[in-house]
């Protein structure tokens, strides 16, 4: 009975965790390997082997790099506009006297995040309309002439950043709030006694302690910016927007695969994009680790 029971004891955990590994093998690993095979091919119905020529095309494909550059612009906007505001809001919400109402405020900020990108896209398309949009009407009240947010190629990315600020500020506030729970009050108190100003306390005490969650937040932010699809696609009216100013890697990939039926090239695009994301993630981790070691 004992041998039987211990065999079952050894088998049980593997049975419990197997769903993940089976599902990932089918819906993750297999497509990843198959995608690599596809990316080495050429053709639509019958594939012929072409080696790495698709990859050479991707590297020389100005349109792909434009899409990556748009991702970079969105990432910079998110990192330097959205994250600082989120940190500021989280610091305000973390004040002890807000404690009871923290959940209520956080919910207000978080609701846009779980609202469908489609609904958000539809709302902002109206809000940002050049002629009858609320935002231009408000700007008109202070004498600013109408901006072609979605018609003028120079303004589409700022328009997208406005939308993203609204949709993604809340979740970043929540992440920062979670990180702030790890900042011991005693440390702040000690710094206060030593005569540190609020700015010094933020920079020298709070920020270093926030670094682990910052690594995560910045990574999410980069991945989200480069991986942008729905919001930009809907703002651009199921396309790339004026002068292709709203093309992102995913929308280009989608277009190549499902409008032009070029699965092989699209697979190569997916591979290059993934490798670049892993590289960016790796560089970012290194940078944050280096900073940790300096202190």
């Amino acid at each position: 009975m004992n041998a039987h029971a211990s065999a079952r004891w050894k088998l049980a955990p593997l049975l419990f965790i197997s769903p993940f590994f089976i599902a990932y093998a089918i819906f993750g690993l297999y497509p990843i390997l198959y995608g690599f095979w596809l990316s080495l091919m050429k053709g639509t119905d019958t594939y012929t082997f072409t080696g790495f020529s698709n990859y050479l095309f991707v590297l020389k494909d100005g349109f792909f790099w434009k899409a990556m550059w748009n991702g970079t612009k969105l990432a910079l906007g998110s990192l330097f506009l959205i994250l600082p505001v989120a940190l500021g809001a989280a610091l305000l919400l973390n004040r002890p006297y807000i404690a009871k109402k923290k959940g209520m405020f956080a919910t207000f900020f978080f609701t846009p995040n779980i609202t469908s990108a489609v609904a958000v896209g539809i709302i902002f398309k109206l809000l940002l309309d050049r002629d009858s949009g609320v935002i231009n009407s408000l700007l008109g009240q202070v004498g600013i002439s109408p901006i072609g947010w979605l018609k003028d190629a120079a303004w589409t990315i700022p328009a997208l950043i406005i939308l993203c600020a609204w949709k993604y500020l809340g979740v970043n506030i929540l992440f920062f709030l979670a990180g702030l729970q790890n900042v011991p009050i005693e440390l702040i108190e000690a710094a206060k006694i030593d005569g540190a100003s609020p700015a010094q306390r933020l920079w020298h005490v709070t920020m270093p302690l926030l670094r682990p969650i910052m690594t995560f937040i910045v990574f999410q932010c980069l991945l989200g910016s480069y991986g942008m699809f729905s919001e930009a696609f809907i703002l651009a009216g199921s396309g790339f927007g004026p002068e292709n100013s709203l093309v992102f890697p995913t929308s280009y990939l989608y277009d190549e695969a499902f409008r032009r039926q070029d699965f092989t090239y699209s697979s190569a695009l997916g591979y290059v994009f993934t490798l670049m994301m892993l590289l960016i993630g790796f560089i970012q981790l290194k940078m944050f680790n280096l900073k940790n070691q300096e202190e």
Partner: protein, 294 residues
């Protein structure tokens, strides 16, 4: 735990050198900033609700007025005329509900395996699982499509349900709560003759209700709001989901402002209802608790 931190915090503030009047003013300023921010976050929702009930001429002619001065249901009837709205709603619901049910069961089963037992390569397997979160979905977009095509599953709900049934993030969130369940509870259940699967259903699953709830909610929202998936996999109008269906409402002759936003409003209703049923405290605390321990 959080309460004691606040209590300590309270003492710290009380011991501050600033005078009560200054402190009071500071607090009011903080409240005003937070309330203004909340209004800024609510405004687009209010705009959406207002616009859905406005007449066309008021939407174009008087955009700054958020209130529908001549409330009308014309946008709704227009929407229902132009789109098979309720069929789409049904499709979205079928996908979201079945995916949520599957993801709760499977994520919790895997989380149970990782939290209840000690076994060889456990740590390595867990790290492997987490590492899959680093790989962006773009890499599988095309090959998954080709795979599901060879399965004969195009224009069915399967490609939208199966891949999402279990994932590293869901397992991680539930495991965080399950590891905190004391071994003694399992042991006593075992003595009482409960099987391994029995302890899962009777002890582990109910005791990790908060994390399971969050995973369920996030899965539901993810499926309900998914845009790229249905866009790729569904082709016939009778199978279409709300998210994609609403964006197909483009009138070539007249810019149709109101109908899409009316649809957006109806599409957001389940989200807002779920959020208010589950309650903000539970939701926000659950999310932050999950990420703290990470």
């Amino acid at each position: 735990m959080e309460k004691s931190a606040v209590a300590v915090n309270g003492r710290v503030v009380a011991s501050q050198a600033s005078t009560p009047i200054w402190r009071g003013t500071g607090r009011i300023v903080v409240y005003i900033v937070l309330i203004l921010m909340s209004l800024l976050f609510l405004a687009p929702f209010l705009f959406m609700i207002g616009t859905a009930f406005k007449r066309y001429e008021d939407i174009v002619g008087d955009p700054l007025n958020p209130l529908p001065l001549h409330p009308s249901l014309a946008n709704f009837s227009h929407l229902f005329d132009k789109l098979p709205f309720f069929a789409m709603l049904g499709n979205s619901l079928i996908i979201a509900v079945s995916l949520t049910a599957l993801s709760i069961i499977f994520n919790a089963l895997v989380a149970y395996g990782f939290s209840r037992y000690e076994f060889k390569f456990k740590h390595g397997l867990f790290v492997c699982m987490l590492a899959t979160m680093m790989i962006p979905g773009q890499i599988t977009l095309v090959p998954s499509f080709v795979m599901f095509r060879s399965f004969g599953m195009l224009d069915t709900f399967w490609p939208l349900i199966l891949p999402g049934a279990v994932g590293a993030f869901g397992v991680f969130l539930i495991r965080q709560v399950m590891v905190a369940i004391p071994k003694e509870i399992y042991d006593s259940a075992k003595i009482d003759g409960c099987s391994e699967l029995g302890t899962f259903f009777r002890i582990a699953l109910p005791l990790s209700g908060s994390a399971v709830g969050i995973v369920g909610l996030l899965t539901f929202m993810g499926a309900w709001n998914d845009y790229l998936g249905p866009l790729i996999y569904l082709s016939s109008g009778s199978k279409m989901t709300l998210a994609v269906g609403l964006t197909t409402m483009v009138n070539p002759y007249k810019i149709d402002y109101a109908s899409p936003i009316t649809g957006a409003l109806l599409m957001s209703v389940p989200v807002l209802v779920l959020l208010s049923i589950i309650g903000h405290k539970y939701f926000v605390d659950g999310l932050t608790a999950g990420s703290i321990k990470g």
